[in-house]
Symmetry: C2
Subunit: 353 residues, 2 copies
């Protein structure tokens, strides 16, 4: 490998290279290894306060406007699955990252990496899905790029979308705003996206098809904010699932999080599929669900707003934030015991988004 | 291929599918096929005035601020080449697209798609290059994403960067602003990036190593604007080279472009390499060069400003814009004949950025 400016890697890179000398699938899984890669490589390299906020997107002011800016690449396999495809995912995923910053999504970019030999019909279908999803989420796709690589050097279609949104309130929505006593809500049943992908990938069929929950979340989030809800932190429950998200927030906020397994909404068919496939619903990705931290006094009103919106019906309270000497996520199990929750480790669900 | 919402592709897709039923490398080459894919698939699907401007980025107002927003994916092969690597390219390429909108680059996002098994040392080297390039271009990388795909499903590292910039003037920089009589300038010698990549890829060595011209162009462009130059159109000379860019602008502006082959700056070593490798310098990509359309009365002053900046020394006048019944690019050759210039067709230089 010809590196122009050779760097003493072992001396300069803070990653424990003895352990992780090569990129593994789990580095992209949204769990512990993804977290470690970000913390030890990307955050120090590009050191700046915006990146250090460790949020779903960056927020900054330009003149007097507060903007949010975010990006995600989509490498989901297979490209088409019950309830969506890589195109719907690429629009909704980035719309949702803007929503999690409390921003109204305005404009999206799209960068396509196509594999030589891809059927033009497949690309066309994906582009139509993107168009439809963008219309539904009320965003405009305004700039783009297309690259093609040789057959065997990619896998059909990879899409990156970045998004710009406008923040029209004075809330500071971030892990740093989470407070002891906050109520923790989720916006509906968990894990359907993960099961939809895995079932499609493995050729499994259940009694009824489990469809991805992929959906644009800006409308319900903006309804909360317009309704005066003090949203302290918002996070969509994608890679790594509820468990990884809660651990990340607990660590970033320096708090203890207590959740109740009985309160976590998982559909019976999803629970059944988890048993067959050997998954824990706590780590399953959803692409249309988020977790919300609000002052306890706001919880009922927030649930009222969410449950009146079609995309967030089934929202419920799952736990609360407690003071902590060390950050921790603790779950009271269905049988009354307690269990300490860690981030996803290993590669439970590669390429689910 | 299980498509959820089957679409009558043949009836709905405006591409001539008999001819192009599959994606070919040339669809990503920046020439005629890329152009056709954009015009017949992406622009109609996402139909909006910003996309229809066919510029290097979208420009729009948020409250009273004019912003530019752009994206590019980088799939260059090999990852490291004389004068740069995929990391420098990923920063400078997007910085330059913002500069071509006349914007001051502010913030960048980065989306990594990594192949399982990539040496962590390689990623570290690329990240260090990105850090250095971002510092030199005075932009902050503020948000990012990492995905990992299985070994054999990508090629080492693909990077997408998107960028947000601020437009601090009232010029309308776009093909639509090009006027009959405009002078056409280029910001230095052409084609070094293309030759650097091809020589590295093919294992060729010349008497002296030809290094990529990859460089951030925001500073010289902002100097022009601060200097009162009426920049009607700016475009960086990447995929497809000078020829493809001029044809695209001629078609978008509905003008005839006359250039003089004798005036086009190409270094002797690049010209020699072109002869050996069978390339036409007009179609070679540069990653640190741009073409500038200005009123003829501004030309000398613009050249003065550009030639006083280290990254754009060697800028010169190469032609002018003429009225036309049909858009065309005409070149007076070194031997005095005239030649009609078309966009790059086929796949002269796949994966050069």
């Amino acid at each position: 490998m010809p590196i122009n400016n050779p760097i003493d890697f072992a001396a300069s890179c803070p990653l424990p290279i003895q352990e992780y000398s090569h990129v593994m699938l789990a580095h992209g899984g949204g769990g512990r290894l993804t977290h470690r890669l970000i913390e030890t490589m990307f955050v120090p390299a590009f050191s700046n306060p915006l990146l250090a906020a460790r949020h779903d997107g960056a927020t900054f002011s330009v003149n007097k406007s507060r903007l949010a800016f975010t990006t995600d690449s989509y490498v989901v396999h297979p490209l088409f699955f019950p309830g969506g495809d890589i195109g719907t995912l690429a629009i909704n995923g980035t719309v949702n990252d803007l929503a999690m910053c409390g921003a109204r999504p305005l404009y999206l970019s799209a960068g396509f990496i196509l594999e030589e030999g891809l059927a033009m019909e497949t690309l066309w279908a994906v582009v139509q899905s993107m168009r439809q999803a963008a219309n539904e989420a009320r965003v405009q796709l305004v700039t783009g790029d297309t690259k093609v690589v040789e057959k065997g050097k990619a896998d059909g279609i990879f899409i990156n979308t970045a998004g710009v949104g406008l923040i029209e309130h004075n809330l500071s929505i971030s892990p740093a705003s989470v407070r002891t006593g906050d109520a923790i809500l989720v916006s509906g049943d968990l894990g359907r996206h993960g099961i939809a992908i895995m079932a499609q990938r493995e050729g499994l069929s259940f009694e009824t098809t489990i469809e991805s929950d992929c959906a644009p979340l800006a409308e319900p989030v903006l309804s909360l904010i317009r309704g005066g809800i003090e949203a302290n932190c918002l996070r969509d429950l994608t890679r790594g699932g509820l468990a990884s998200v809660l651990v990340e927030i607990a660590e970033a906020a320096g708090v203890q999080i207590h959740i109740d397994e009985n309160a976590i909404p998982v559909r019976e068919d999803v629970r059944g599929a988890c048993e067959i496939l050997g998954f824990d619903p706590l780590y399953l990705p959803s692409e249309g669900r988020f977790v919300l931290f609000v002052p306890a006094s706001n919880a009922d009103r927030a649930l009222g707003i969410l449950n009146s919106h079609p995309l967030t019906q089934g929202s419920c309270l799952i736990g609360r934030v407690a003071a902590a000497s060390s950050p921790l996520v603790v779950m009271r199990s269905t049988i009354g015991g307690t269990r300490i929750i860690d981030m996803l480790s290993g590669e439970q669900l590669p390429r689910i988004c």
